[in-house]
């Protein structure tokens, strides 16, 4: 009896967790689906052809989104690796305040800030440009990349660096051949995270990029608002693939125990 109750509760939970994603998948292969039919009256991949047509706007949006995400990741890494190293190993004045500044974008609601970034960008003609959108995504990604890079560098035993110096390696050589390789798993993790955040970002792109820059989330939004549920569903599934992959991989480097240490 207890066994039945347990299985029943798990089934209900599974329905609510996976049902919304399942419903989206059905929509992506529904060629005709009218109320009150419980399932589509005509199935097929016609809309997939529309989305994946090489000249289609959806593919254009996908490549643009990937391009922006790559630029955002590169920008974040270039500034956050040295910053993380300095925060973990260097002698910084006002270190707690600096750490706090990198935490603030996570502590305030972002939307009002994005509105004002768009207002400032207007003066520099950055609205509706790839550079503008990359900057907005990068400042959001900075929170994760700086904090994770700092943690990755701080976790390295300083004696390893000391040993390299003792046998005559220069400072830069020690950094590039000892410290950086050891910190790499954490830095790669932060890079994947920044990439995904940029790929999925909606609010900032909406205020700074639209209508000229149509990233995949923006395209998904206008397709959904325009009633093209199938096109929106397929775009959503494209966005889901990297997210689910990351979710399955995340246990390797982002244990719950680590997350639980945040904010202490």
């Amino acid at each position: 009896m207890k066994w039945v109750l347990r299985a029943g509760l798990l089934a209900v939970f599974a329905f609510f967790v996976l049902g919304p994603i399942g419903n989206l998948m059905i929509w992506s292969v529904a060629e005709q689906w009218f109320w009150p039919n419980r399932l589509p009256s005509q199935w097929g991949f016609r809309f997939w052809d529309v989305v994946f047509r090489p000249t289609g706007r959806a593919m254009e949006s996908l490549w643009l989104s990937i391009w922006i995400a790559l630029l955002t990741t590169a920008t974040c890494l270039v500034v956050s690796v040295p910053a993380g190293y300095a925060l973990a190993r260097g002698k910084l004045p006002w270190r707690p305040i600096v750490m706090l500044i990198f935490l603030l974008p996570q502590a305030f609601p972002n939307l009002p800030v994005y509105i004002n970034i768009a207002r400032i960008f207007f003066e520099y003609d950055l609205n509706g440009t790839v550079a503008g959108v990359v900057m907005v995504h990068a400042v959001h990604g900075l929170v994760f990349s700086v904090w994770i890079a700092t943690a990755a560098f701080a976790a390295i035993d300083p004696e390893l660096e000391q040993a390299a110096r003792n046998i005559g390696a220069s400072g830069p050589r020690t950094f590039f051949e000892v410290t950086l390789p050891l910190a790499l798993p954490g830095i790669v993790a932060s890079a994947i995270f920044v990439f995904l955040e940029s790929l999925d970002e909606f609010t900032g792109s909406y205020f700074v990029g639209a209508p000229e820059i149509r990233t995949l989330p923006l395209m998904l939004y206008s397709a959904g608002a325009g009633g093209n549920i199938q096109i929106a569903a397929i775009s959503a599934l494209i966005l889901l693939v990297p997210s689910i992959l990351f979710m399955l991989l995340v246990e390797r480097f982002l244990k719950g125990e680590v997350l639980a240490k945040m904010g202490r």
Binding site: A86, L104, P105, V113, I115, L142, G224, G256, G263
Partner: protein, 280 residues
């Protein structure tokens, strides 16, 4: 060892400059903008207009985000509690596998999922009708405030659960086992022994979720276009349709205040803990 002071400052400068120029400066801009009119004169007019037009929406936002936060807390503690105290290893394994699916689903995708799932002819209603819980005629759409709450809870619960379950896994088992041996029910062990020890972690997860939900535009704008609406939708409307930065910034100020209030409650608790020497 490590870089000197000068080198450290040099290394951190690009990242710091970026954060200052692209976050701190626009944040200050929004704070100042809330108290200025179009000509740059200091005024409280923006707040008067925000109060006249959006006081209902402000309450609506607090209600939705507050209810979502509460539900996230209850569900994540329940899942974490079962993972820690449950009897069936199979059920624990399935639950552990199941709960994280929405973790990295983008909000915009979650919104679209729910729009199809919770609609009048969505999978949820269809399943209820199929199972005989209700008939087709009484099926109603959940695409209003309930849809927003369900989407927020669906999307944010895995995040808080991951933190909470991690903290619970790190607890000393001996007190839990002792209480169980003395005959305490699992619910009582969860509420009186486990939760008090992980409440800091739970609070951090809930505050981060609260802030996130306060700034999500895609979910309310896709799920429910009707009035009253959430503050994020109102801000977008003031900018895109009216070009009124003053009122939008006043509403932004209100949302900072609301999240600041949540953070203040947390800090007050944390300080009280410290004074009592209970810090974990």
């Amino acid at each position: 060892m490590g870089p000197t002071r000068g080198v450290s400052v040099l290394l951190i400068f690009p990242a710091l400059a970026m954060a200052l120029a692209l976050f701190i400066y626009p944040l200050g801009y929004s704070l100042v903008g809330a108290f200025q009119d179009k000509a740059g004169v200091w005024t409280l007019g923006n707040f008067v207009r925000a109060w006249e037009l959006y006081r209902l929406d402000t309450l609506f936002t607090v209600f939705i985000v507050g209810l979502s936060t509460f539900l996230i807390a209850v569900i994540s503690v329940s899942i974490g509690g079962y993972l820690t105290l449950g009897n069936s290893p199979v059920a624990k394994k399935i639950l552990d596998w199941l709960y994280r699916w929405p973790l990295f689903v983008p909000f915009i995708v979650a919104a679209l999922c729910m729009r199809t799932f919770l609609g009048r002819n969505g999978m949820m209603n269809n399943a209820f009708v199929f199972l005989g819980f209700m008939d087709q005629e009484s099926a109603q759409s959940f695409l209003d405030w309930r849809g927003i709450v369900i989407t927020f809870v669906w999307k944010q619960t895995p995040f808080v659960t991951l933190m909470v379950a991690g903290a619970m896994a790190g607890l000393d088992r001996s007190t839990i086992d002792a209480a169980r041996n003395l005959g305490a029910s699992r619910l009582r062990v969860l509420l009186e022994i486990v939760v008090p020890q992980i409440r800091r972690t739970l609070a951090v997860g809930l505050i981060l979720s609260f802030v996130t939900m306060m700034s999500v535009l895609s979910v309310p704008i896709m799920l429910s276009g009707q009035s009253p609406s959430m503050l994020t939708v109102n801000m977008a409307w003031r900018i895109n349709s009216v070009g009124d930065y003053g009122t939008a910034n006043a509403l932004g100020f209100v949302s900072y205040l609301l999240t600041g209030l949540a953070a203040w409650f947390y800090l007050r608790e944390a300080v009280r803990d410290k004074q009592q020497g209970l810090t974990r």
